[in-house]
Symmetry: C2
Subunit: 582 residues, 2 copies
Amino acid sequence: MKRSMYAGSVRLEQLGQELTLKGWVSRRRDLGGLIFIDLRDREGVMQLVINPEQVDQQTVEAAEKVRSEYVIEVTGLVAQRDQANDKLPTGQVELQVRNLTILSTSKTTPFEIKDGIEVNDDTRLRYRYLDLRRPEMLANFKLRAKVTHSIRNYLDALDFIDVETPMLTKSTPEGARDYLVPSRVSQGHFYALPQSPQITKQLLMNAGFDRYYQIVKCFRDEDLRGDRQPEFTQVDLETSFLDQEDIQAITEGLLAQVMKETKGIDLSLPLPRITYEDAMNHYGSDKPDTRFDMTLQDLTALVKDTDFKVFAQAPAVKAVVAKGAADLYSRKDIDKLTDFVKQFGAKGLAWLKYTDNTLAGPIAKFLTDISDKLTASLQLGEKDLVFFVADSLEVANNALGALRSRLGKELNLIDTSQFNFLWVVDWPMFEWSEEEGRYMSAHHPFTLPTADSQQELEGDLSKVRAVAYDIVLNGYELGGGSLRINQKELQERMFKALGFSTEAAREQFGFLLEAMDYGFPPHGGLALGLDRLVMLLAGKENIREVIAFPKNNKASDPMTEAPSLVAKQQLEELALEIDTHD
Amino acid sequence: MKRSMYAGSVRLEQLGQELTLKGWVSRRRDLGGLIFIDLRDREGVMQLVINPEQVDQQTVEAAEKVRSEYVIEVTGLVAQRDQANDKLPTGQVELQVRNLTILSTSKTTPFEIKDGIEVNDDTRLRYRYLDLRRPEMLANFKLRAKVTHSIRNYLDALDFIDVETPMLTKSTPEGARDYLVPSRVSQGHFYALPQSPQITKQLLMNAGFDRYYQIVKCFRDEDLRGDRQPEFTQVDLETSFLDQEDIQAITEGLLAQVMKETKGIDLSLPLPRITYEDAMNHYGSDKPDTRFDMTLQDLTALVKDTDFKVFAQAPAVKAVVAKGAADLYSRKDIDKLTDFVKQFGAKGLAWLKYTDNTLAGPIAKFLTDISDKLTASLQLGEKDLVFFVADSLEVANNALGALRSRLGKELNLIDTSQFNFLWVVDWPMFEWSEEEGRYMSAHHPFTLPTADSQQELEGDLSKVRAVAYDIVLNGYELGGGSLRINQKELQERMFKALGFSTEAAREQFGFLLEAMDYGFPPHGGLALGLDRLVMLLAGKENIREVIAFPKNNKASDPMTEAPSLVAKQQLEELALEIDTHD
């Protein structure tokens, strides 16, 4: 029998119709001589009723046999329920079953198929197909498909050409670590899986495609964190002849359409812009969460003349005020916060509580001379709790920025119904890497430096600014873009500034430099992290919730057990030997 | 200045407007004191005119400097041309330039940027960005994007959920050769790039997604032929609870929409169906090109009693008739055809020419007793040329099928404006592999055998039939699908029939078998080769023409030189050593 419709879609409209439904048994109960089954399919759950006295023996036997997660086919009449269940969209109706057939049986599942389960991550991944049966998971993937559909329609309408770029590319160690793919035809040689189609999409601009986009898998072999996966998906776009504002406007239109179509929210455009410097100074973050205030206050000038040398002599003294939180944090709690900020380089965390118009706390006695000024400057009110970091400006910003995020969550200051998009603009071109002991690209080596800072490529690299723009949502970096270098000479200077020898630059990026010999148009673009975007729209905190078959934090898949050992012959064909001994 | 519009889109409609255009110099000529420039962008070419006496010195200098493939920006007035160029969509108008700026210069390109060039493949790939500037190439990628857009809209409208499946998967050596990706975290272990998301999409059916699709990269490390690439793109779909006819109907609707939207062609549905057996017997191919006739004629019965033992004793004697071709093939030509059919296992190629109501040729004298019957049976007419293969039925079919394809092309029998879609149904489950000395899956080990042939899994494997269906277009296999096994016991029997030990089956496919313990619904699907589909729609003969950055026939990219050597440190992190010595 053909299925008439999804069980989860049956409504009063179908009253009196004979329907055939197929799906999974969510629950079976015997009650008053009747058998009740909750039938689940991807659109929802519907109640079936079997009256053993009104159906044939085969159906009675099948109905008695069914257990949770059996797949069944039923035919029957849609009737109105005596007692409607208002919690279910199908709750007004039930199917009075005439015929029931078991299509597939099931063992008892290792966890219940329902929302809000408490099961460890590896078990969920090991039985991912069962995990995905849970309505909240399926909803994430419907949302994800809706988001990509919306994005594609938007970009198609703007004449962007969807072009597939290669997965088997060249390894370019600048950036994150590549996943390598050994070649069989050229033994000893390797492809790399793309970290992004950055250069390829630039070459499409060289080719005159003018507007390119792709929703594409990218790969980074880095240690995994909550919102990192070995493979992730990027909404990647590139345009020719446009400036930063044009590209930002296109992106804003895209986000507005997605928000409208998936959440029914009207974004107010243009989105707010903040400079990198302001973001660091006010929020202590290059991806500020603006859903709550508690900005960083600069007290450096105010404390300069105090006798408290820790403050007076520090290059920067900054503070955040937790309004009304004085009684919420014990000394022990504050010790924990002190340990926390130390992870961000702070040597300590000073604090004051303001109660009964008085500043109290270990350092209060050192600040009596400026206590009025402090109180006024920080606009303190009863029961406010102030945290200070006195350090380099960078450390003070980073430490208090991290503290601000933590306090925002702990104090429930965040309205999780809000979607606060924000552009961070005017980026430094380089950032110092302590690990590598050199300046590295803040974005990538193809980013266009601003015209008035290009001369610093041969001078102070910290002063080179980039025509770059990141888009931030609720404290997450959602994506970033830039105008790109299209002139060979400037690109060569950039490689040199990054420490590449002429030979190394040519060996790794020679094809890009050569392309610059042949009429490379001005161009720029942007990439959005699709997994993160969908995660945030779904209100989740881990991208694994919106990836159908993700890896665990050891980059392996507990279901298939990938990565796995392979046959000797496979390695021989690739001329590879494994050497895990030294 | 912002670009007003694409140069290639300017029409009489814009007469009198001042426009700013940006693009590439396709050609520059000096004529009668004026400078003419053909400006190219992705929408076409438009003529610019610079009158040195009416523009400023800067523009004159720039206009004199420009060469082919310079990128320029021009502002000017749209005027009607004195002599319209009917070959160009913009041919009614020209831009009278007021201002010209050079945005990017160009060396002389290694080949001309125009359609129909004769350049060797590696040069085209080495400068792929220049190759892609050629209008015919850009048109292929616009077509490709239009095809995927059309497919997505069709499937989205049918409630298929677009789900991304992993690229880093488990190696399963059954099938083609995997591309491997070494793991750094689990040294000595490997991921494999997916040959198709077959099992994963089946698990999505287990998860209750009901209708899944994805346009997805797949990978096979096989030796390359004209229409093979290491990575290729598949339109992949899977459904639950549907039967073969349902899935065929969905596919037909998809193809009809694509044909309508990209070629303006109304497909007549349902598409023709032919059984695998009939396809082999009538066309000598499991992917028949039905754009021309010349079907294989079975003469086995007719020649059984002739004295010509080569025919009388052969298990099968089959023929194709090249109508009116008798004078077009010399003995030397026919010798070449004989060599050709030998590649397909034939021991020889007999032939006859029919002229003046008489059969002539080396074997004519042996067939005088049946010459009338032959002539009647083959419906021979003046100047017909008949080729015979006497061999096993399989060899006769294969050899004459290949000959038929070759003759069809050589004799220009093919109407290339036609798009002949065809279903090939009722497939054998297994095919004998001479190479491996065993039966292998004709499709894959997850294909459902027909109910009435399942008992042969433990008997004669050649008799097991599959619920499988291939879609063929103009002699190319465009895609294939099947219903799948959803019962563990049957899947285990299938693995056993394929020679897997219980342990080997569990090791490689244990997760699929386990999923069959938990209410796996009946399901089936299909995959289409997107590259081939677009290639055929574009009227091309190589999928490289519709892949932006393909590999050459050594699986390498002459532009980036991928695959390449990698740093020692990269190999060390993966615990790999290269051993190309033995």
